[in-house]
């Protein structure tokens, strides 16, 4: 279900008939796959301009995040997407944020897919997320030309 691809910008332009579009002079959008390649409820990882990025289709909405947990480096693409228990009174169990939380496959840390923030904010952990959109059936991920996400270590 989950696969890994290497996508270079040049190959991208050829195979997907896409162009790098200049979001700003410091960022660029890169097509990584066709929308149909990542079905709802699945994810795939791509090597994009020096970063390993996990693209997730959660209920038809796409998210892109660095494929390395900021805690211990586990591949987040092997994790699971779901909701989480909301803060509540003792012995009350209120489920929420369905489809917008990813749980790390190793130690089970949870991250918000949109912001990248750990659900337990006290950890101070945040996974790098990337703007993503679809256009003409392609999934476009926006990465900075240079950035701290190019370093090997995760982010805090």
């Amino acid at each position: 279900m989950r696969q890994s691809y290497t996508v270079s910008a040049s190959k991208q332009a050829a195979t997907l008939n896409m162009h790098e579009s200049a979001g700003s002079h410091d960022a660029r959008e890169i097509g990584v796959a066709r929308v149909d390649d990542i079905a709802p409820g699945t994810s795939k990882s791509f090597r994009v301009a020096g970063r390993e990025i996990c693209v997730i289709n959660s209920g038809g909405r796409f998210y892109a995040l660095r494929n390395a947990c900021p805690h211990r480096g586990a591949p987040l693409c092997a994790g699971t997407v779901g909701g989480t228990l909301l803060a509540s009174r003792p012995y009350e169990y209120v489920y929420g944020h369905e489809g917008s939380v990813i749980r790390c496959p190793w130690h089970g840390y949870e991250f918000d897919l949109e912001s990248g923030n750990a659900v337990v904010r006290a950890t101070g952990l945040r996974v790098k997320t990337y703007p993503v959109r679809t256009s003409d059936g392609s999934i476009l991920v926006c990465v900075e030309r240079s950035g701290s996400d190019l370093s090997r270590e995760g982010h805090r």
Binding site: R72, A74, A78, G79, P105, W106, H107, G108
Partner: protein
């Protein structure tokens, strides 16, 4: 004890073989806590069990039948059936081809050994920790024997980087000694795995096991049993049974302080100075407080144990080793302090606990430590402990 080959001499021998190129390169990273799992539950042991036990375990047709699904119809090794980890008890990426985590030696070799540069993985059976909670000592002994054959055939023979632990049933120490005598010189066996029950390890009925272990140069390893607080014969949880997995998993390291204290106070390390005991997944940050108390109280209460000739803490430094996982996750400053307080350069052995959810990576978790201590924990302490068996 006499007759045990000197560990230092063994190491020297291994190194000299390396120089001549006749032996494999000395291990660089040793992972001292890896858990192979049965692919089909207790049925994996069937080929290795005598007929009597096959029938008792799975019904008279020797197979996995309806019997396994009804209470009172088939045996199971006691395990954790009442506390559930809401975040998952296994690494999700350890599921491979729909097979259970760590049930395929080839995939474990790829995902754990190759990917993390681990040269030796010491196996402790993931399905057998609760063995000591079985009230039937004969059955427990038979299961231990069958497990030892299973791990040899399914794991040791498939990859030369695996090492195994001789499983014994502490319910019957005489039978346990026989099992150690049967397997002590089998290639790949590096230690004895003694599941914990409700009796503390210093008690005299266990001493024959320590005598055998010391004479064969086999460390005795103890590990959490996944049955703490759940069975009469399992280790207790002080205070009473917790409600949630989080409480249970946080607290199960409690059991190790009484066992360690018992070994010291019964004079086991004085009687068997060659014996080494490995506390796996027991934690170690609790150790300084325990040793301060023991040292302090022993100085004026030694009348109960006049055979002790040294401070309790000195026995620990000499004879006891601790695996690292779950390694403390706090500031570099605190980690270094804790490690120096427990003599990490002598006592700690790296472990990953693969494939469990709280897996530790050999590079990341030890990063706060200085290189010489890291090397000791990743390699040298294990080499010195296990000698040529490694």
């Amino acid at each position: 004890m006499t007759g045990e080959p000197d560990q230092t001499a063994r190491l020297t021998e291994t190194e000299s073989q390396d120089v001549t190129g006749q032996a494999a390169t000395r291990a660089r990273i040793v992972d001292c806590d890896v858990h192979p799992h049965f692919a089909e539950g207790i049925a994996d042991l069937m080929p290795f069990l005598p007929r009597r036990w096959k029938e008792r375990i799975a019904g008279s047709d020797h197979s996995r039948t309806w019997a396994a699904r009804f209470p009172g119809s088939a045996y199971a090794i006691p395990g954790n059936t009442i506390y559930t980890n809401p975040a998952g008890a296994m690494r999700r990426d350890a599921v491979h081809d729909g097979r259970l985590p760590a049930s395929d030696p080839a995939f474990v070799a790829e995902q754990l050994l190759d990917r993390h540069g681990i040269d030796r993985a010491i196996l402790l059976g993931g399905n057998v920790f609760g063995l000591a909670a079985l009230p039937d000592a004969s059955l427990a002994t038979a299961l231990a024997s069958a497990y030892n054959e299973w791990v040899t055939e399914r794991w040791l023979l498939t990859d030369k980087r695996y090492r195994a632990s001789i499983l014994v049933a502490p319910q019957d120490p005489t039978a346990a000694v026989k099992e150690v005598e049967r397997l002590h010189d089998r290639n790949g066996m590096v230690q004895i795995h003694m599941p914990l029950g409700d009796r503390l390890l210093g008690e005299p009925q266990f001493h024959p096991i320590y005598e055998a272990a010391a004479s064969f140069g086999l460390p005795v390893c103890i590990h959490p049993n996944a049955t703490e607080g759940m069975y009469w014969r399992a280790p207790n949880v002080a205070g009473g049974p917790p409600t949630y997995y989080l409480e249970w998993v946080t607290l199960y390291s409690q059991a190790f302080a009484p066992h360690l204290t018992s070994l010291i106070c019964h004079g086991v390390f004085e009687q068997y100075p060659r014996l080494r005991v490995v506390l796996a997944e027991a934690g170690f940050a609790w150790l300084p407080d325990l040793l301060w108390r023991l040292n302090r109280y022993w100085t004026n209460m030694r009348a109960d144990m006049p055979n002790l000739t040294r401070l309790p803490s000195e026995y620990v430094r000499q004879s006891v080793r601790f695996t690292t996982q779950p390694f403390p996750e706090t500031s570099k400053k605190f980690i270094r302090k804790i490690c120096s307080m427990v003599w990490a350069d002598t006592t700690l052995l790296f472990s990953s606990d693969y494939p469990h959810w709280d897996f530790d990576d050999p590079v990341r978790v030890l990063a706060p430590l200085e290189q010489p201590v890291r090397d000791r924990i990743l390699t040298d302490n294990a080499s010195e402990l296990y000698g040529e068996r490694l």
